[in-house]
């Protein structure tokens, strides 16, 4: 008989390395037509990081996403970056980009200030213009300011900067300290159906609500969450490398079973409204945490459905059925 159950799991997850320095550097160049180039040493690993980093550079310069071309991943060309690891790209590389773009923007403010008869600190970059703070009518298109700065003042608009999250060493005896500068939080809730005659678990739906600070690009955060859940479902129910005397016996995708699109439950993804003042425009990160609470939520839903606590992953049909039978035997023993 198929039985329904629901289970929740929440989690916390840090951004960046544990205490260890993990800096990023960036260079931003503004072109004379008001477009810009961003140089970053990180690499696109499919998560959309370069799009997000381009949006951060664009925001600092008052440009649109499409105005910024991102050059990445070439040690001859791009500056130092600790890389696509530890959910750090948006936060650490993003913070470096804000600082680099601010330096380029400062050059534009200095060039524009005499033209607008104000001081540089009374200017802002918005909607592709350099304008007097709060007075969009007193403005000059960014392209003209770049041309003026480059061809008249002789100061091209370029900036380089770096960022490293501040941490405090952990005490070697007690581990007390500040290992990370910030953390993200999330909750996932699973709705499952368990066949108590076969032990088979079907995940019907997962609701996921994640905090990533300000989502720089909500669509890409949602994509990360959906992908993370698919890894979580595999970790929960299917995937396991099996060994015989140190030899892997299933090193192939015929015998190492992972979820396909047909195994994916209905997903309902939401983002918490949050702002981290230490992140670029309030952003934190979204890579790894998306895969963290899924297995726990599914195990709690299995417990809710059939009353067995799975203590070893993955919860294959065999393992779930074994736990159900053990419970039934114990109940029969208690009854007799």
């Amino acid at each position: 008989m198929k039985k329904r159950g629901r289970g929740m799991a929440c989690m916390w997850y840090p951004i960046g390395f544990t205490v260890a320095a993990n800096p990023s550097a960036a260079t931003v160049k503004v072109n004379t037509d008001g477009t810009a180039t961003l140089l970053t040493g990180t690499v696109e690993t499919g998560q959309g990081a370069l799009t997000v980093l381009g949006q951060i550079a664009a925001e600092t310069l008052g440009l649109a996403t499409d105005d910024v071309h991102v050059v990445s991943g070439d040690t001859d060309v791009t500056p130092m970056d600790t890389g696509a690891i530890a959910s750090r790209t948006t936060y650490v590389t993003g913070n470096a980009i804000v600082r680099a773009a601010e330096k380029a923007r400062e050059i534009l403010f200095e060039a524009a200030a005499p033209l607008l008869n104000v001081k540089p600190d009374q200017l802002e970059a918005r909607d592709k213009q350099i304008q007097v703070l709060g007075f969009p009518s007193r403005s000059i298109p960014i392209s003209q300011v770049v041309q003026h700065s480059e061809s008249v003042v002789g100061n091209p608009a370029i900036g380089s900067a770096s960022y490293n999250p501040p941490t405090v060493e952990m005490d070697p005896e007690t581990g007390q300290g500040k290992p990370f500068n910030t953390y993200v939080y999330a909750t996932q809730i699973a709705d499952v159906e368990v066949d108590d005659e076969t032990g088979e678990v079907e995940v019907l739906k997962i609701v996921a609500v994640h905090d990533c600070g300000t989502p720089i690009n909500p669509m890409l955060v949602e994509g990360q969450i959906q992908g993370g859940i698919s890894m979580g479902v595999g970790f929960a129910l299917q995937e396991e490398i099996l060994f015989e005397e140190g030899r892997q016996i299933n090193p192939n995708l015929t015998n190492y079973i992972m979820p396909t699109s047909l195994d994916m439950p209905e997903l309902d993804v939401g983002l918490v409204d949050n702002y981290d003042p230490t992140g670029p425009f309030g952003a934190k990160g979204a890579g790894e945490p998306t895969a963290v609470p899924t297995a726990a939520a599914i195990m709690n839903a299995i417990h809710d459905a059939v009353g067995v606590r799975i203590t070893a992953l993955p919860a294959t049909a065999e393992r779930v059925l074994g736990a159900i039978m053990e419970k039934q035997e114990a109940e029969q023993l208690a009854a007799s």
Binding site: G41, G73, I85
Partner: protein
């Protein structure tokens, strides 16, 4: 033998064609000759990419269009004239001493241009924390995925065939596979010395034993997790090309090229200025592509052969030789008051580290700090140990220990809620972090949104109204 001759012939013809045409530009195979442009030149406008302010826009990805059109160049799509293909021979035993490696028969095969063994690597060790991992194992192989020799040949098939001609003499050594067995004094030692425990971590706050003794309820359970692989669509892949000035360029699927260049400079004993790493678009990383694998091997094979050398791992290589997720054995003891307030949590974690350290330092650190869960607990003790075994190396994988400990702490939260008759949502709201909560390391937490995520998820799910 028939197929082999054919391969060599085909390859020779390809080389001649490549030399004659000198045409670097490659056309995708699907492009018909009478219609050279197979993609629309007029781009549909993506509104979100054109709007200001840029932050918060659901901007589409410029790489998405190239993926959709099949125009993204992964390593497997990149080729150079005269390029060779490399394959790696792997250890046959989980733990063994290599007595000799004879590559001479392989080298005699037509089309085999160069071979490489561990003894030829200038600095044959790497690793982000401890440099305990060889590029090619020599003289000790510590798991069945360790590479022991490599071949560069004019085709992938030839390189694979040549591996069978390499003669390796081994002396098997005693091996250990279970992490708890490996912790015992008399267990075989994976890296010599007097213990297999290679790193440990303690998080200690308050007086956990006293608080457990004073708790109304004490819950104990052991949880275990398994080894899983990242399974990126694109396996580890690189091309190395050594030029006449002694400068080497690598196109690589590595996710962190700056530090990859440091690792390469170290293993090759070369100045960083003579090494260029180009990080191509990576077809999935998830933590598995955060350290060098085949790059130094390809660089040296390219140096020996004077030709570009490519290697793309098979799915089998990917499973047995790249890093995978640490299995955890987790003992959780939690003291709770009558009204469901967590008073103390005592945790012991044992991490199966596999044959080499890799990213275990980060995994044990994050795993230990996160292990008590996102809850206000005054008395905490976490003791964690990472242990070498003669199995596949465990390293970075999406979450660095967090999915493992979350499975344990959240399963136990539901055990507690169930036993005390408290709703699972309610017990989490009662104990969960809020702004300025103190973490297990006594860090004051900011921009905390745990309870918001709990209540919003519960609302979206319909937690209160839900019925089975």
């Amino acid at each position: 033998m028939a197929t082999r001759t054919k391969d060599i012939q085909t390859d020779a013809e390809e080389l001649v064609t490549a030399r004659e045409s000198r045409a670097p530009a490659q056309q995708p195979l699907s492009v018909p000759a009478d219609k050279p442009v197979a993609f629309p030149l007029e781009l549909p406008e993506s509104e979100a990419r054109l709007r200001t302010p840029a932050v918060g826009q659901r901007a589409s990805r410029p790489d998405g269009r190239l993926h959709g059109l099949g125009q993204t160049q992964y390593i497997d799509d990149i080729t150079f004239p005269h390029m060779l293909h490399a394959k790696i021979l792997r250890s046959e035993d989980p733990h063994e001493r290599i007595l000799s490696i004879d590559t001479s028969e392989a080298e005699k095969m037509p089309g085999v241009i160069a071979t490489l063994t561990g003894a030829e690597i200038p600095e044959n060790s790497f690793g982000p924390t401890y440099q305990d991992q060889p590029v090619l194992a020599y003289p000790i192989a510590r798991h069945r995925g360790d590479g022991v020799a490599a071949v560069a040949a004019t085709s992938e098939q030839l390189a694979a065939d040549a591996l069978e001609k390499i003669k390796v003499e081994y002396e098997p050594l005693p091996a250990v596979f279970d992490p708890l067995e490996a912790m015992k004094d008399d267990a075989p030692k994976v890296h010599g010395g007097d213990t297999n425990i290679y790193t440990s971590k303690t998080i200690k706050k308050g007086d956990v034993d006293k608080a457990l003794a004073e708790s109304d309820h004490v819950f104990h359970r052991q949880f275990r997790t398994q080894m899983v692989e990242h399974v990126p669509l694109e396996p580890h892949a690189s091309i190395a090309s050594w030029d006449g000035n002694g400068r080497v360029t690598l196109w690589t699927s590595l996710g962190r090229i700056t530090l990859g260049r440091e690792d390469l400079a170290r293993t090759l004993a070369m100045p960083q200025s003579k090494i260029r790493l180009i990080g191509t678009v990576v077809g999935g990383n998830f933590g598995g592509k955060n350290e060098i694998t085949n790059e130094p091997i390809l660089a040296l094979l390219s140096k020996k052969s004077g030709r570009p050398v490519k290697s793309v791992f098979t799915r089998g290589d990917e499973f047995v030789s790249s890093t995978i997720r640490h299995p955890f054995i987790m003992d959780y003891t939690t003291g709770v008051s009558k009204d469901g307030k967590i008073l103390a949590r005592k945790i012991r974690l044992v991490l199966d580290g596999g044959a080499y350290c890799s990213w275990t330092g980060t995994t044990i650190g994050k795993g230990s700090i996160l292990a008590p869960g996102p809850y206000n607990i005054d008395h905490v003790l976490v003791e964690a140990y990472a242990v070498y075994t003669n199995k596949t190396t465990t390293g970075a994988m999406r979450g660095f220990g967090a999915p493992q400990v979350c499975f344990a702490y959240e399963s136990q939260m539901d055990d507690i809620a169930h036993e005390l008759g408290i709703d699972p949502l309610e017990i989490r709201l009662r104990n969960g972090f809020s702004e300025n909560s103190l973490s297990p390391t006594s860090q004051t937490l900011q921009s905390v949104a745990l309870k918001e995520s709990l209540t919003q998820a519960a609302d979206r799910f319909g937690w209160k109204e839900w019925q089975a």
